[in-house]
């Protein structure tokens, strides 16, 4: 059943800059959730710190607005407690690839039942324009005044190296592609990762809307089969005049999610198990 996307609307002042890619991402997420028949109370958005992290401030749903970089551990705990929520972790490139890099590795390893959206604008927006882990070599920012001496991280290649169960890249300027990818990611059991390229009109004067628009192309339209893991590696290495977007990898093999791996089917959802001190009687008796 399709839900009216307006149920996700929240009447609050929005502080994003005009032209920010976040507007489009938010709009697409709301309409995708509605099309999937999800209501606000069935969704939990765990967001970090940054302009992307502010997303659930503009969107009616269950929210944990947590520390910078810590969306995935918080989402891990929540996803273990219940299977009744569609859980989305949202953050920017600082959240996902700097502060939270270690957690990203282990969220993949655990295969938590979470969709991870990284709004990747290749710059730190909220703190006014410093370099990010995905800023390109030579990018001039307040913290790299002579140009970034380092090359940017390639998140897709990184996630492929970890063999996450679902790996995609989209562009905030292509709402149709983004909506399709988000829907597949949200439907994917286990960990689904979506890197979303977006312009930062205030601070990233190089990787602009136009810059992305001229370069992005859809790998699936050009025939890439998301089941082809080896081909995905080849495609992921492209970055320059052409930037590949779409679903790089969608693992066709079933793997157990974190909750199932840890608990089996026995106590689901854990949050509904009654608290009974007598449960430890047998354990205690072993000590006498």
């Amino acid at each position: 059943m399709v839900v009216n996307a307006k149920v996700f609307d929240l009447d609050r002042e929005n502080t994003w800059c005009p032209g920010c890619g976040n507007f489009a991402i938010l709009e697409v997420l709301k309409s995708t959730l509605a099309e999937m028949g999800l209501s606000p109370h069935q969704v939990l958005v765990v967001s970090g710190i940054g302009q992307a992290g502010k997303m659930p401030q503009h969107f009616r749903t269950n929210t944990m607005h947590v520390l910078h970089g810590r969306t995935l551990p918080v989402a891990t705990g929540a996803s273990l407690a219940t299977d009744r929520l569609k859980i989305i972790a949202v953050g920017g490139d600082g959240d996902g690839y700097a502060e939270g890099g270690n957690h990203l590795i282990h969220a993949v390893r655990r295969n938590i039942d979470v969709t991870c959206m990284v709004h990747n604008n290749m710059i730190y927006g909220l703190t006014k324009g410093q370099a990010s882990p995905t800023s390109g070599k030579g990018a001039q920012t307040p913290t790299t005044p002579d140009g970034n001496p380092l090359a940017g991280l390639n998140p897709i290649l990184f996630l492929l190296g970890l063999k996450a169960s679902f790996i995609a890249r989209s562009f905030a300027g292509d709402k149709e592609q983004l909506g399709g990818i988000l829907e597949k990611a949200l439907q994917k059991p286990g960990f689904a990762f979506v890197d979303i390229l977006q312009p930062c009109p205030s601070f990233n004067k190089v990787n602009t809307f136009k810059w992305f628009q001229e370069r992005v192309y859809d790998i699936n339209e050009e025939g890439h089969d998301p089941g082809d893991f080896v081909e995905a590696f080849k495609l992921a290495q492209e970055w320059g005049d052409r930037i590949p977007t779409g679903i790089f990898f969608d693992d066709q093999e079933e793997r157990p999610g974190f909750r199932e791996a840890l608990l089996g089917k026995k106590y689901q959802p854990l949050v509904e198990a009654e608290l009974n001190p007598l449960d430890i009687t047998e354990i205690m008796e072993k000590h006498s």
Binding site: N62, M64, L80, A273, M284
Partner: protein, 579 residues
């Protein structure tokens, strides 16, 4: 009652030689014989080699600390003889592994035991030599063979009857060898008492049992001595309960996982030590701001940094009081024994949820690794108080739900995502009642005041200080945590002549029990603080909360626990006790 029927036995050897096996067999057998015990483990941060020991003290009354003198020494290496022979009492017996220790002359009152040989012959493997040693010692001390064999059956139950039988044969071989070859006297003679069904529990096991009894549903932690024992124990039992343990990638992830689980409705906990907790501090502050109930077991060991991994200290008192950016309420408890650790943990979960605050349990290596005899817990007395949580029916009748509703007590009704039609907004940023961010100065003040009102409410339910000894003492020993055991025995020793000494320990250190402490201090002539750190942290906290400066501080920070003699030593200098 200081040393009547009060015996100590030490097992010394290298890491990996099996001193824990011998220690565990004997500890459980003493408990099986109806005796009380206190056992302490001293070990290095290494897997093989070094010199470790396991010291068991046994008596017909409850024990809280260890003795400096030994009735029995089981030496598995040369170092054990070199280091501990001087601790022997007259008539003390030394049992040693004759393969490891070569002596031309007979050591007085000793038994040279061919451990590996007898182990192989009777138990099938040379490693059974440990059970041989336990059997020999048990025989020399006059223990009942049935009790020892019953212990072995229980200990090896999970490994099958073959292994159990092999161990029983090895123990019998040790006993027979001792009967034939030991002609000395043994100062340690087991007095039979009525079997009481007492458990033998370490501090760590008691903390874990307490958490499980309290309905802890999730433990996320990163291994770190001395807290790993809590994780390993709970991980082992998790399959029997609706309980999940996850070994996090680091302590940052650990506390944030627990925060996620707690805000989705699970009773959640982390266990760590000082430097691991350092990584958790940002998460602690988030728990403070987002009003997330979590329990933090902080098993202290000497710092700074990695310090001494397997040693003990009480160096994190002020850190736990003041850690975290910004100001927010918290509660800090410090159990003194394994039994206390169980009930403290149950209480900690209730406090965390009732007040929606992070709660600390300060343990240390001494408490974590020491074994105590404990009467089985009355589980029907475990009260689970979850505080103000709305149920789905209540929520569905409400037009609006606000996670941070401003109330007189400062406590807002809780709800969880997915529980009802309402959305729950949890935030670390300063927020409105709804949970959405704000920088409005008026709301900021209201929210700070709301959170700090919980601190006042929390202070009304403080766990009162516990006193032992004289009620109008010459000297009041003020202490906390595992140092209580040494102080309590110091009181027993000092008060044999006249009632002059009192010990007061603080089961709850934060909110600080100011009024109750002042009351005790007003009755005493002298105030001495006793704790395991170099700067007198309890003394400093006392001064900051009450303005009172202790007259003297007994401190220890060499990484080894204190006992009664250590507490009394400064007063005994020059032969004059000041009380």
């Amino acid at each position: 009652m200081a040393d009547f029927h009060d015996y100590s036995i030490k097992i010394g050897g290298e890491a990996g030689q099996g001193i824990n096996t011998i220690g565990d067999i004997l500890s459980k057998s003493f408990a099986g014989q109806g005796l009380h015990l206190y056992a302490y483990q001293d070990y290095y941060s290494r897997v093989r080699g070094g010199h470790n020991f396991y010291q068991v003290r046994v008596a017909s009354f409850p024990l809280y600390s260890f003795s400096d003198q030994l009735e029995v020494l089981i030496a598995l290496d040369e170092a054990s003889l070199d280091l501990h022979s001087g601790e022997m009492k007259p008539d003390g017996v030394i049992i040693y592994d004759q393969d490891m220790i070569k002596r031309e002359e007979q050591i007085p009152n000793s038994l040279a035991l061919p451990m590996a040989k007898l182990g192989k012959e009777h138990g099938g493997k040379s490693v059974m030599g440990n059970t041989v040693a336990a059997g020999a010692v048990w025989q020399i001390m006059g223990g009942e063979p049935d009790v020892l064999e019953n212990t072995l059956s229980k200990l090896f139950q999970n490994k099958g009857s073959k292994i159990t039988d092999a161990n029983i044969k090895a123990a019998r071989a040790g006993a027979d060898f001792a009967l034939d070859n030991f002609s000395g006297k043994c100062a340690f003679s087991i007095e039979k008492a009525e079997y009481t069904g007492n458990m033998v529990l370490t501090g760590n096991e008691a903390l874990a049992l307490g958490a499980m009894a309290a309905g802890c549903r999730f433990l996320s932690s990163y291994p770190m001595t001395p807290a790993s024992g809590v994780m390993q124990y709970m991980a082992r039992q998790a399959k029997l309960l609706p309980l999940a343990f996850e070994q996090a990638e680091d302590e940052i992830a650990a506390i944030n996982m627990s925060i996620g689980a707690a805000n989705t409705g699970l009773r959640s906990m982390v266990a760590t030590s000082g430097s691991g907790f350092s990584l958790m501090v940002e998460g602690l502050s988030f728990a403070g701001s987002s009003e997330t109930p979590i329990v933090i077991i902080l098993g202290q060991r000497p710092g700074p940094a990695t310090g001494m991994a397997t040693r003990t200290e009480q160096g994190e008192l002020l850190f736990s009081v003041y850690s975290g950016n910004g100001e927010f309420p918290r509660a800090i408890f410090a159990p003194v024994t394994a039994e206390d650790a169980f009930w403290t943990t149950v209480h900690a979960f209730n406090v965390a949820e009732k007040y929606q605050v992070p709660v600390f349990i300060l343990s240390d290596q001494h408490l974590a690794d020491s074994s105590y005899t404990v009467k089985p817990f009355d589980l029907s007395a475990v009260a689970i108080e979850r505080g103000n949580i709305l149920d789905a029916a209540e929520l569905n009748q409400m037009a609006e739900y606000k996670r941070y509703q401003i109330t007189e007590s400062g406590i807002s009704p809780r709800a969880f995502p997915g529980q009802s039609k309402h959305c729950v907004v949890v935030a670390g940023n300063e927020h409105k009642e709804s949970g959405y961010s704000t920088e409005d100065p008026e709301i900021r003040n209201q929210m700070v005041d709301k959170r700090m009102r919980k601190f006042k409410t929390l202070a009304e339910e403080i766990k009162p200080p516990v006193s032992y000894g004289s009620s109008k003492p010459e000297t009041l020993l003020l202490t906390w945590g595992s140092s209580y055991g040494a102080c309590r025995e110091a009181v027993d020793i000092a008060n044999q002549e006249s009632e002059k000494l009192q010990v007061v320990h603080l089961p709850q250190l934060w909110p600080f029990p100011t009024n109750q402490v002042l009351e005790f201090i007003s009755q005493a002539n002298r105030l001495v603080t006793v704790e395991m750190n170099s700067t007198g942290q309890l003394g400093r906290l006392l001064r900051s909360e009450t303005g009172i400066q202790p007259d003297h501080a007994v401190l220890k920070y060499d990484g080894r626990p204190m006992n009664a003699n250590y507490v009394l030593a400064p007063f005994a200098k020059g032969g004059v006790f000041p009380w």
